[in-house]
Symmetry: C2
Subunit: 343 residues, 2 copies
DNA sequence: CTGTTAGCGCATTCAC
DNA sequence: GTGAATGCGCTAACAG
């Protein structure tokens, strides 16, 4: 026999389909007796409501989407994990839309906004265009931004400026005067992170009286290899930096590698700081800035579910900031170490 | 105005809904002229087909599911990444069902097999019960197993026995006689991985003439902390092992930590091997067994999509094996090093 | 080639 | 409290 429908259940239980539907949806206006009878038949037949039909009728899929660039990046995976965890206790499922190539971004957006897929979308680290926001709006799909912002749209922002500021401030307070910044170039997905970190760097330089030397600012992708080659360039400078702050832990690992190969001791000869605090960072003992993925995930899911429940509600914006995690790759610059070791 | 339906498009274009549907589904039996006209109207109205309605009618959701235990584990995340990559070029979306607690396993299985969710399911590292397989069957949902097996069900198996064998064989050929095995205890999700590795260990011991000493077999969860404490126990033995092979890279990292704290040099005083080859392993220079997540993901997605396309097709089972990745944490045991260094 | 029609399985009126 | 009827938006079968 084929998959039983609500009608089969109704017939078998000697009731109308409406009643079965009410039992299914925990409608209280059903007598105890019939409720039990129906439930029993449901169990016996192994009946499961057809989600597609239900979605068509009720206009809700009980699925949340998450749209993210580059599934490949560590940080996104960790955010994803938090989201999954936050969703677990809810009745929602999670559907993933990954944007690997910038070229198919329009199609993917179109696709994921098609009605009947998800009830709402978590958008991670994507700077949305007006057109895209309009698209979500016309699809009547609530969205919550993670690590980005758009006027009038709910989201959890990451304060990259002040997070980066903390990093540079930490290095400056240790006594460093020559601090380099290695980040990635802007890409189509999220152009403003980079400039935020840059401004945080500048602000800290200003506050602590450091000279932001142009040669100390390098760009490369978020990878160990790229971090390594950037570090090699920096360390070959006539006046090499005494500390290197990178926009990602991965790059910082590359910097550590370069230092090791040059026979430099970290942090005595060179201080190194990463960004994100991916799991690797702890293992390596990397001083870094921890981005609160847990808060990001939890808050965003909560915001999205209430947004779905209360359609009209006003957009809310929350803001979270990274925290300094001091481990063993930062210390005072060589010039100050004699003083430091004399109590 | 509300979201346009296929009827609006039909009216606007002066055709019947059937024609619009044909254009949408790339049915060739439509004249060039009408096709263009309809396409134009679709564009103008910003029409998007309602996926829920389509799913209800066509009985296909164009979504694949992946069911996995413990999203938290590195290895699963990496497999997930490969799956996402393999799915990207297909018209399928990906929905994730994570099984964090064994207790809600029945509900989750019931939930994810409800019709209208996904067209098929990738089941990772779960040893399914008869009941569960029956459930998938009665839901008429094709499944492909990754890293597990069930008679008559398609899947990509991981040959843990021979993978572990390679690890121990590697250590034995280096000259080690005292090789310990640290794995995790069996859990409800996938009881047989552990015994497979154990048998691979035993087989290698037998082939290479090692004594499988009971004290050399320890269990703990897949974490650095657990690996560390296991190593401490082993190294405190009157006759400590000269090599430790762990069932996960994470545990191996813990072993390295323990060794470091004891002032042991790796690999001179102690050889360490991991399992899985997660990204961390490469960074640390850990010798390990690489499990082919790429193949696992690609094969499984391919198998599932063909299974969906050709319903009746016979179950296929493929088998992949780990490969030895020799890095810098393994070497000859202390007793042989004098000979080794003399050419 | 194209228009019309009949449900897919369910939630939701509206009567009773 | 409960049953019967209506249609969500779409595809597929049929008629032209």
């Amino acid at each position: 026999m084929s998959k039983p429908s609500i009608r089969d259940v109704a017939r078998e239980a000697g009731v109308g389909v409406g009643t079965v539907s009410r039992v299914l949806n925990h409608d209280l206006r059903v007598s105890e007796a019939t409720r039990n009878r129906v439930a029993e038949v449901i169990r016996q037949l192994g009946y499961t409501p057809d989600l597609a039909a239900r979605a068509l009728r009720s206009r809700r899929t009980n699925t949340l989407g998450v749209l993210l660039p580059l599934f490949t990046r560590h940080f996104y995976v960790e955010v994803l994990r938090e989201i999954e965890e936050a969703i677990a206790p809810t009745p929602y499922s999670l559907t993933i839309f990954s944007l690997e190539r910038a070229s198919d971004r329009p199609q993917r957006i179109e696709h994921c906004t098609s009605h009947g897929h998800v009830d709402g979308m978590l958008v991670i680290s994507l700077t949305l265009t007006d057109r895209e926001v309009a698209r979500f709006r016309s699809a009547d799909m609530p969205i919550v931004l993670l690590d980005s912002a758009y006027p009038g749209v709910s989201g959890v922002e990451l304060d990259h400026l002040n997070s980066a500021y903390q990093a540079v401030a930490h290095l400056a307070s240790l006594g460093h005067k020559r601090v380099a910044l290695v980040d990635r170039p802007q890409d189509a997905f999220s152009p403003d992170r980079i400039s935020d970190r840059w401004h945080g760097y500048l602000k800290a330089c200003h506050d602590y009286g450091l000279d932001p030397i142009p040669e100390y600012r390098l760009m490369g992708e978020y990878s160990r290899a790229s971090g390594k080659s950037s570090a090699e360039r920096l360390l070959s400078l006539p006046q090499p930096p005494t500390a290197i702050f990178t926009g990602s832990d991965l790059q910082a690992l590359g910097v550590l590698e370069a230092a090791r190969e040059r026979g430099l001791t970290v942090p005595d000869d060179l201080s190194v700081m990463g960004y994100h605090d991916i799991q690797l960072a702890e293992y390596v003992g990397l001083t870094t800035v921890r981005l609160p993925t847990v808060d990001l995930g939890r808050m965003a899911v909560e915001m999205l579910t209430t947004l779905i429940a209360e359609r009209g509600s006003d957009p809310v914006t929350r803001r979270v900031i990274g925290t300094l995690v001091t481990r063993s790759t930062t210390g005072p610059p060589p010039s100050l170490q004699k003083h430091a070791s004399a109590p």
